[in-house]
């Protein structure tokens, strides 16, 4: 059985996540005057169409690009020494401390509560067309899975092989990957909830909704 209370307490002890903002590619960095402790916002708008707070600009081949915050949070430390310098790709610029929201806490607890079906190897994963259509039409929770069901197409080195589900029967409660992105071996693809446990899961959801305090 799942001890929701304990998990919530554990999360309450460190209710944040540290997000490292790294350069997507090489270029010359220019900060915009943020200081540690400043608050930044993630993308907003109904369709997340407005980008988050500008953190820095990166100029490469005369093309100045903004680097924006991906999550709401607080700036932790800024590598000010990089100002005006050419940096390599993937260089850390600053860290944002992001306080977990209800959805995120829920996601974390669910990852422990659900049966996770993981990627067997690093590859790109897709749902088979029938399941993809079902998810698009009725949402993830409309799909029931059972042992041996052909669920995924694994694409690796331009070759595609089918992958079937193994684990308890149930409905897909969460999808953890983006179709077409690389997923490392061992990373969860989907979270399956056996129908018998559905009430328990719903209980977890309501408890988090009720008990988790969101902070800025």
């Amino acid at each position: 059985m799942l001890n929701v209370k304990e998990m919530l307490e554990e999360l309450n002890a460190s209710p944040y996540e540290e997000i490292e903002i790294r350069t997507p590619h090489t270029g010359v960095v220019e900060f915009v005057g943020l200081a540690p402790g400043d608050r930044v916002n993630g993308p907003s708008g109904k369709w997340l169409e407005r980008p988050g707070t500008l953190l820095a600009n990166l100029t490469r081949e005369k093309n100045k690009k903004p680097i924006c915050a991906t999550q709401k949070g607080q700036v932790m430390d800024i590598r000010a020494e990089l100002e005006g310098r050419f940096v390599e790709a993937g260089e850390r610029l600053l860290t944002i401390r992001h306080f977990l929201s209800k959805e995120e806490v829920l996601g974390r607890i669910l990852k422990k509560a659900l049966h996770l079906f993981c990627a067997p190897e690093r590859a790109k994963y897709y749902f088979v067309p029938e399941i993809d259509a079902k998810i698009k039409a009725g949402g993830e929770q409309s799909v029931k899975v059972r042992e041996g069901l052909d669920m995924f197409i694994v694409s690796r080195m331009k070759r595609e092989t089918p992958l079937s589900y193994s684990g308890p029967e149930g409905i897909i409660y969460a999808v953890y990957f983006q179709q077409g992105d690389n997923v490392d071996g061992g990373q969860p693809l989907i979270g399956v909830c056996p129908e018998s446990q559905l009430t328990l899961i719903q209980d977890v959801v309501s408890r988090v909704q009720g008990e988790w305090e969101e902070r800025d």
């Binding site: 997507p24 590619h25 090489t26 270029g27 490469r60 081949e61 093309n63 050419f86 390599e88 790709a89 993937g90 260089e91 067997p120 190897e121 690093r122 590859a123 690796r156 080195m157 070759r159 071996g185």
Partner: protein
């Protein structure tokens, strides 16, 4: 000679070979690598020979902006594209030389990269210079009547030649990668195939042009290695290679120089004559078009001994070493490994004159190159990913091995095969006085190779070593 800084816009073993050539020639180098590739041999070698300042982590090998941003940041003066990635990208070649801070592109002029990068164009250029090409159309056909007539003529031509089963190839001129291509064995079926291809092309490629060619079976795949200096006034060749041993996906696995060996094998045609013809045509065409760096003229030789030019590769190739190892330049102190084609390429790319003529070039012995990959020849050459736990070979004076994989013993930190690239592990080049000696040494090399690992499913890593050994013993030429 001015000291240059070359940015090596590539990875793996070719980056290592370029890097070594730079050191040999006394130039500086800059290497790039991606996070996934941090373990690769070229990163280790660059750190070893140049220190950490010579290394830049980039987002992708395929993003020209990354390469050029690093070039500017590191004050590089020239870019070497290696093979793959930007090697045959004329836009990259153009950008390198036409940007505000121009660099030298170690490769032919971008216009040549463009013109010879297109197979149809190459065919037309070849015909304009009387170089034989595969019988068929040399421009997209848009008219059905014309297409039918052409197909008819090709069938008749094959019949005249006594080819029992004539075959015509119909392909979308804008297509590639094996899509929109079909064989026709019967003139009556031609129209329907033609229409199918044309409709496919119209729908998917928005150009309904179709090419019609004779389909040739059981041909030998030969190559001529050409070296030409800037300005295109002087060119030589370094002999021929035979690349007929390929995987299912038409990927070369074994290359042998010279292309034919009339001394130890018998052919149904005048093999020496063919070799002479293709080298002559290649160098001739190179001079005619003003070709100005290393390049490879690819030929197919039919079972009747007719050579047809197929394409020109405007870059250094993987298998350049096998031509190098069998070539000698008179009056030069090249070692036992023969001519370093990559060093020659850099030299020529930076504008140095060739410094020798065809008379100074001689070929000697037989070289065989093996491409060792983590793939399963029994299962359609499917790539096999995983880690290498043990890797090593017996060093011999007649052997060169190029690899980005470190020498490993069981218990060492294993080497992960990066999944973003082809699972090339190593190139082994053996040399012998004769074909037989080279073959024997090849088998010896492959036999002594230690290569062990585990794939992602926990099973032993599969490689093509046995396939290579087997092909060495059975068939290297058709």
């Amino acid at each position: 000679m001015a000291r240059h800084t070359l940015l090596i816009a590539n990875r793996g073993e070719i980056a290592m070979r370029i890097l070594r050539a730079c050191v040999t020639l006394g130039h500086d180098f800059v290497c790039v690598y991606t996070t996934a590739d941090a373990q690769s041999g070229h990163v280790r070698l660059a750190r070893e020979l140049g220190g950490p300042d010579r290394l830049f982590r980039i987002n992708s090998y395929q993003d020209p902006s990354e390469i050029l941003a690093v070039a500017d940041a590191s004050q590089a003066t020239a870019v070497h594209p290696g093979y793959g990635f930007f090697a045959e990208d004329f836009r990259f070649a153009r950008r390198v030389v036409e940007r505000q801070r121009p660099l030298i592109f170690i490769g032919p002029s971008w216009t040549l990269v463009r013109d010879l990068g297109d197979k149809i164009n190459t065919k037309r250029i070849a015909r304009a210079h009387s170089v034989p090409t595969i019988p068929g159309s040399d421009r997209p056909i848009y008219d059905e009547m014309e297409a039918v007539e052409l197909a008819q003529t090709i069938f008749a031509f094959q019949q005249d030649q006594g080819i029992a089963e004539g075959c015509v190839l119909v392909k979308a001129s804008a297509g590639g990668g094996g899509m929109g291509i079909e064989e026709v064995y019967d003139l009556d079926k031609f129209r329907s195939v033609y229409r199918r291809i044309r409709n496919y092309a119209k729908r998917n490629l928005s150009d309904e042009g179709v090419l019609i060619e004779q389909r040739i079976f059981d041909f030998n795949h030969l190559e001529v290695q050409v070296l030409a200096e800037r300005g295109g006034k002087n060119a030589v060749h370094l002999g021929t290679r035979n690349c007929s041993v390929q995987s299912l996906g038409r990927q070369k696995r074994i290359e042998v120089a010279p292309g034919f060996d009339p001394a130890s094998l018998t052919y149904a045609f005048d093999a020496a004559g063919v070799l002479d013809a293709i080298t002559r045509h290649s160098v001739n065409m190179s001079l005619q078009v003003g070709y100005d760096n290393v390049g490879t003229w690819e030929w197919i030789v039919t079972p009747r001994g007719e050579p047809f030019l197929m394409e020109v590769n405007t870059r250094i190739q993987v298998e350049n070493g096998v031509s190098g190892v069998t070539s000698r330049i008179q009056g030069r102190a090249d070692g036992a490994d023969g001519v370093d084609v990559i060093a020659e390429q850099i030299r020529l790319g930076l504008g140095e004159p060739l410094g020798y003529t065809q008379q100074n070039v001689s070929t000697t012995g037989v070289g065989i190159e093996y491409r060792i990959l983590a793939e399963d020849p029994l299962d359609r050459f499917t790539p096999c990913l995983g880690r290498i736990e043990a890797f090593g070979w017996v060093a011999e004076p007649w052997l060169q091995v190029f690899t980005q994989v470190p020498t490993l013993q069981l218990g060492d930190e294993p080497y992960e095969i990066p999944m973003d690239f082809d699972p090339n592990l190593a190139l082994g080049i053996v040399w012998g006085q004769s074909l037989d000696e080279a073959r024997a040494r090849g088998v010896e090399f492959l036999g002594g190779l230690v290569l062990q690992g585990t794939d992602t499913r926990g099973e032993p890593l599969r490689t093509n070593v046995d396939f290579l050994k087997n092909r060495t013993q059975t068939l290297l030429h058709f």
